[in-house]
Symmetry: C2
């Protein structure tokens, strides 16, 4: 149906494709097929001279001679006023290609709908071009993959799981940690020492495991999280607290 | 390393493999490889005469002439006293094969560590046979896949996401719904009408979407969840509440 709609309105299709947490073998069969069939692959990167993490995961599956690799800059600044300008510019680049009848696959590490840049582009695209056919290919999120690397259950039968960006939730963190059986903290790198203070105040430090760039060659698992105090941490870090 | 350890101790390796939410194309490349390389594939099913959902997802990738398909019964009863007996029996079946030097892949729908039966077997196995090499292959969870099917973001930048089994969290549900930006309710089928009452009391009914067996041929998405009141629902149902 989507294929037919797309041909009828002359627009290319837009895919949001989760490419998994880091290991290229954790792509789904569907993600691989969509990527190999799409003439345009676009991806977020943090700055003009940085490299897209999502691209590094899938680069061996792509053919730059046949496919356009469109890198879109999305600064990771907290300057929220400026960000929409970048999202709009990126969306415009995508729309030009969709209007030319070309399918576009937007790749994100992990899953597209869980803290992905994709979500902003998706919202703007639907506003600007409501008739475009959109399909989202879910991916293995870094939350599930970190738990697998650390051999740590996320939830059984009656457990409650919270997934929170630590840098935006410091004030409520103590409360959340007390109420949930498992808490996964993303965006911990800038606030790690404060997170550690909160964990210590609740005697939960021994229940926390730090995971960096799970399933990638740079993966690191630290079970004594106290040793990380004062260190500069990777922005692709998370902490799983399992009671 | 794991391979060598395994050969040194003579035991087969044990894999927990997430096979994704329902669409066989949402298997990862790694899950497919591990499944095709494992001489024993084991899977949970609810009763002697029922069929394993995980098996239905991967059956086209397996070769029963070459591979043993070991179905293990895990009743879905709330009789918590009885369940460990089944887990232990299942673990014993697995250990017999590992001691014979055969690799065993335990498959679960979605992700093995997010509400999977795998977790109980994994715990018992580590106690009974601490030297066995264990690897977990994370999968696309039904949480991410339901959001993709419903085209509904799970979380952006500063959002908090809670994943809770509704049937075990009715008393705290109102509080959780007020504190989190997105709440995914699993195990809703038996308590759906009570969940609906809570959503209505918070004026959140219009923010809820029901998803059944996401990405499978039986997928169903219901955006007016009021229409489901009083109905018998599939046990593989979830509700996403996105504020």
């Amino acid at each position: 149906m989507k294929d037919r709609d797309s041909r009828m309105n002359g627009l290319g299709r837009f895919f949001g494709v989760g490419v998994g947490p880091g290991d290229p073998e954790l792509l789904t069969l569907k993600a691989l097929r969509v990527l190999q069939e799409s003439p345009v692959i676009c991806m977020p990167k943090k700055g003009e001279h940085s490299r897209s993490y999502a691209l590094s995961i899938v680069s061996s599956y792509l053919d730059p001679a046949r496919q356009e690799l469109l890198e879109l800059v999305f600064p990771m600044k907290r300057d929220l006023d400026l960000l929409p300008t970048y999202w709009r510019a990126a969306t415009d680049e995508i729309i030009v290609r969709l209007r030319a009848g070309r399918d576009v696959a937007f790749i994100t590490e992990g899953d597209p709908l869980l803290f992905g840049t994709f979500i902003y582009v998706y919202d703007l695209l639907r506003q600007a071009e409501p008739s475009v056919a959109i399909e989202i290919v879910p991916g293995v999120s870094s939350v599930n993959a970190s738990a697998a690397s650390a051999l740590l259950p996320l939830a059984t039968t009656s457990d409650r799981l919270a997934i929170v960006p630590a840098s935006y939730a410091l004030e409520e963190l103590s409360d959340i940690l007390q109420r949930f059986d498992t808490v996964v903290l993303l965006k911990v790198n800038d606030v790690f020492d404060r997170v550690l203070d909160i964990l210590e105040s609740l005697s939960l430090t021994d229940r926390a495991v730090y995971v960096r760039r799970c399933t990638s060659p740079q993966e690191e698992i630290v079970r004594d999280v106290r040793t990380l105090r004062g260190q500069k941490l990777d922005y692709l870090s998370q902490v799983i607290v399992r009671k």
